[in-house]
């Protein structure tokens, strides 16, 4: 596992091969289907956004509430491809990357390369374990969406993988590509 501190280690992160195992630290913002739709319409309408997209890592996640005495409830990645229609727009607005699970469309893969952004992949269905690596979670925007709201999360050693690398490597096709 390679320790990565977001923003500080961006160059290093961009140099790693797809499939590399990471321990990720730093701030990310959760956003899934409903939050993406709202962000996209706010951008189109030229409205002020609830958090700066510049250099932000978007975590495709809808966490469960934190029980008393825990910093964070169950948290984990949701299927990234549902966010594909919105991703090029967010990349254009400067996000440094996204954390989710599953394959991306060819157009979105190309957009990640073009904007020098990272796509990271976490394991699905291990939310009790992953919650251990979230030090803090707070509501950031769209509270009415409940689990689909935007939460600001502080990750500390969060286990994930490089999903797409800058040389076109993809964790989901690596094995076929090598054949």
């Amino acid at each position: 596992m390679i320790p990565i501190v977001l923003n500080r280690d961006k160059e290093k992160l961009l140099s790693l091969e797809a499939g590399t195992s990471l321990a990720l630290s730093g701030v990310a913002y959760t956003a899934r289907d409903a939050a993406h739709a709202r962000l996209a319409s706010m951008i189109r309408d030229g409205k002020a956004l609830p958090f700066p997209l510049e250099d932000a890592l978007i975590f495709y996640a809808g966490p469960a509430p934190a029980p008393p005495g825990r910093a964070c409830g169950a948290i984990g990645p949701t299927t990234s491809s549902r966010m594909d229609p919105f991703t090029p727009l967010l990349l254009e607005k400067g996000i440094m990357g996204a954390l989710g699970k599953g394959k991306r469309s060819p157009a979105v893969k190309e957009a990640f390369c073009r904007f020098g952004a990272v796509y990271l992949v976490a394991v699905g269905g291990v939310a009790a374990l992953l919650s251990r690596y979230v030090e803090k979670i707070e509501l950031c925007a769209f509270g009415d969406l409940g689990p689909e709201a935007v939460y600001r999360v502080e990750l500390n050693g969060f286990p994930c993988f490089v999903g797409l690398d800058t040389r076109g490597g993809d964790i989901y096709t690596m094995r076929e590509d090598r054949r």
Binding site: G19, S21, A34, A61, G62, P63, A64, P65, A66, P67, R70, G73, A74, I75, G76, T78, T79, S81, K101, G102, K103, V123, G124, G125, V126, A127, A128, L129, S131, R132, L145, G146, P147, E148, P159, F161, I171, Y172, T173, M174, R175, E176
Partner: protein, 282 residues
């Protein structure tokens, strides 16, 4: 006529117990399937299986649900025709139990009131209920926390009457390949064969309640279950979490029903590795 009455509150408490059990602890058979699963060679797939096994312990020790997608609450009820719920309805009891447990156990509320307006009901209700009315005076309640990712990748088709096992096999393989990493493999496959357009998916869902390793009582279907698991594992290339390494399907369960001479309905209900269900008989 003889009737057995079960108090409404007894049903609520029983359903609450099932939601608690399923959300934090995998059934023994599911746990064993994962412990014995082929991890594949060194790489992300093997790492992912390691995290999946670690997560089972974390959920129990930390009191945090196994998955953040704590599911749509699906109930499968086998009700003896002599059973009467005293003081309320079965539907009311199951909804009350779900609303109470999804709040008090800090489970995620993942239900919107309409697919068009997308407004979260805030209670994870209404629950989905399927019934079989059988002879007798017992009430069997089965609960499943069914995640959206695996539900999204489930499919049904109306094959032609001569499709045979080959046609079924092709459809299942295509479904698992198309799904790829999205339903969180390694998977359990519930297969519904026959019935009508609506019945096949219901059979597929019901099949997912069967304990891993337990085969269909008819030997032909039992052998077909094993063949499906074997073929999907050798041909799909999906692997653990879609990383192309290790096991793709942990087990396959078929339920079958008679169908129309013109039809061959087939449904594949996918369940993720975190197959969360529990049952009780009152």
């Amino acid at each position: 006529m003889f009737c057995r009455s079960i108090p409404y509150k007894t049903v609520v408490r029983a359903a609450e117990g099932l939601i608690r059990e399923a959300s934090f602890r995998l059934p023994d058979g599911v746990r064993r399937s994962l412990e014995q699963a082929d991890p594949g060679e060194e790489g992300p797939g093997r790492d992912a299986l390691g995290l999946i096994l670690e997560n089972m312990k974390a959920a129990q020790h930390r009191g945090i649900p196994l998955c953040q997608d704590t599911g749509l609450a699906v109930f499968y009820i086998r009700a003896g025709s002599a059973v009467v719920i005293e003081g309320g309805t079965l539907e009311g009891a199951l909804n009350e139990a779900a609303a109470a447990m999804y709040a008090s156990l800090y489970l995620r509320k993942s239900v919107v009131e309409s697919p068009l307006n997308r407004i979260n009901t805030g209670t994870n209700t209404p629950v989905m209920i399927h019934y079989d009315i059988v002879e007798g005076d017992e009430l069997e309640i089965n609960f499943m926390a069914k995640g959206g990712g695996s539900e999204n990748k489930s499919r049904m088709a109306m094959l032609t009457p001569d499709a045979g096992k080959e046609g079924v096999m092709d459809f299942i393989l295509e479904t698992v390949k198309k799904a790829g990493p999205d339903p969180c493999p390694p998977l359990f496959l519930g297969i519904g064969l026959g019935g009508s357009f609506d019945k096949a998916p219901w059979l597929a869902k019901k099949a997912l309640f069967r304990r891993p390793g337990k085969r269909h009582p008819r030997s032909e279907l039992a052998a077909f279950e094993e063949e499906i698991t074997r073929k999907v594992n050798s041909l799909s290339g999906v692997g653990i979490q879609g990383f192309g390494q290790g096991v793709t399907v942990l087990d396959t369960f078929i339920e079958e029903a008679p169908c129309h001479i013109a039809s061959f309905p087939v449904a594949v209900n996918i369940n993720c590795h975190s197959a969360r269900y529990a049952g009780v008989t009152l």
